[in-house]
């Protein structure tokens, strides 16, 4: 028994264990997602997060210890965001042709995201902390956390709400878009990127190149729009 415990102590102190756990959980999630013919409800991020959280709770591991290992995966989010320039460049002609429509749609979506999140939260009696942390939920995590902090919210809660929004958008978005009979790939991608940032973009990239490029573009522009507009909107309301 002592030996086993020594091995556990050794392993849980090195990044290897939690890095491997992250990858294995994701592979399981992705396998289920592919087996289910990429049904949006079988979102691979949701499945992987559930598996990892269950393992950490069962072994009594703290998030901080887990993140020490998993940060190497987390780090790649930055380079991946930069790499979104490539799908965008492939669709450059299409983007240039409908420049005004893109800007107007993202702006409308951005305002809808902020106003409805604050409005519904307020209506249902959410605390002030919750409301501020909720408002930038549709924006990519780094920006959302910055805005939340600036307005006196809880950045780490915002990060969680951002991820949940991303997962929800990727799960529900395709159904909403089908219901509204939106067939244009550029509109579908733009909507997913505006409402659910990188996780929506990940889903869009898997389904269609045009949708992926427009989602990446929408993610970047919505980050800008929200960062500029939310502080104004917030002080105007309260």
């Amino acid at each position: 028994m002592q030996d086993l415990r020594d091995i556990w102590v050794y392993l849980s102190a090195s990044p290897l264990l939690h890095l491997t756990l992250t990858l294995v959980a994701y592979l399981v999630g992705n396998w289920i997602y592919r087996k289910g013919k990429m049904n949006p409800l079988l979102n691979p991020v949701l499945i992987a997060v559930t598996i990892v959280v269950a393992c950490l709770l069962l072994t009594g591991t703290s998030y901080r210890d887990y993140f020490d290992g998993a940060q190497f995966v987390h780090f790649l989010l930055g380079p991946a965001t930069v790499a979104l320039a490539i799908p965008l460049y492939r669709q450059f002609e299409k983007v240039r042709r409908s420049g005004f429509a893109i800007l107007a749609s993202i702006l409308a979506g951005s305002l809808t995201a902020m106003a409805t999140a604050i409005g519904i939260g307020l209506l249902l009696g959410g605390s002030n902390d919750t409301l501020v942390s909720l408002a930038p939920k549709s924006v990519t995590a780094a920006v959302a956390m910055g805005i939340s902090e600036q307005l006196g919210g809880l950045p780490s809660l915002t990060a969680v709400l951002v991820i949940l929004t991303g997962i929800l958008g990727a799960m529900l978005g395709p159904f909403v878009l089908n219901l509204l009979r939106i067939k244009d790939w550029s509109a579908r991608g733009l909507a997913l990127g505006t409402a659910s940032h990188g996780i929506g973009t990940a889903r869009a990239l898997q389904v269609n190149d045009v949708a992926g490029a427009f989602a990446g573009l929408a993610m970047g522009l919505n980050a800008l729009a929200t960062a500029v507009l939310l502080p104004v909107l917030w002080y105007w309301i309260f």
Partner: protein, 120 residues
């Protein structure tokens, strides 16, 4: 491939430097995306090795969100306490945002007379 991965990191680094020194309201990687985009316009085509590097990064983009997502375990209590306002706001707001963005884009696209795309 290593060349282009380095190029991507350089774009991100310059982006981070620009956002912190100029106090831009956009994250460094998004500025990095703009820089890489400018590089591509300058080159006039996408180098094959850069394409491979980006495919490797974006092919499993979902994976990269898992570590941040696991952070949900830090806030179980707060989420439980405010479950109704948070849950309702997340779901309704996300659905409305998707609907408004997609409908406006389709409507404006049609007005501009561009051909409708093909469906899923």
């Amino acid at each position: 491939m290593l060349h282009y991965f380095t190029l991507i990191l350089v774009c991100q680094l310059v982006g981070e430097l620009l956002t912190t020194t100029l106090r831009l309201p956009v994250p460094g990687p998004v500025i990095g995306m703009v820089l890489l985009f400018c590089f591509l316009i300058f080159r006039g085509k996408i180098p094959v090795a850069l394409e491979q590097t980006s495919d490797a990064l974006l092919g499993n983009l979902s994976l990269l969100f898992v570590p941040a997502g696991v952070g949900v375990m830090l806030h179980f209590k707060l989420l439980e306490a405010d479950m109704l306002p948070i849950g309702a706001a997340l779901i309704v707001s996300t659905v409305l945002t998707i609907a408004v963005t997609a409908l406006l884009m389709t409507w404006l696209g049609r007005r501009a007379g561009s051909p409708a795309g093909d469906g899923e």
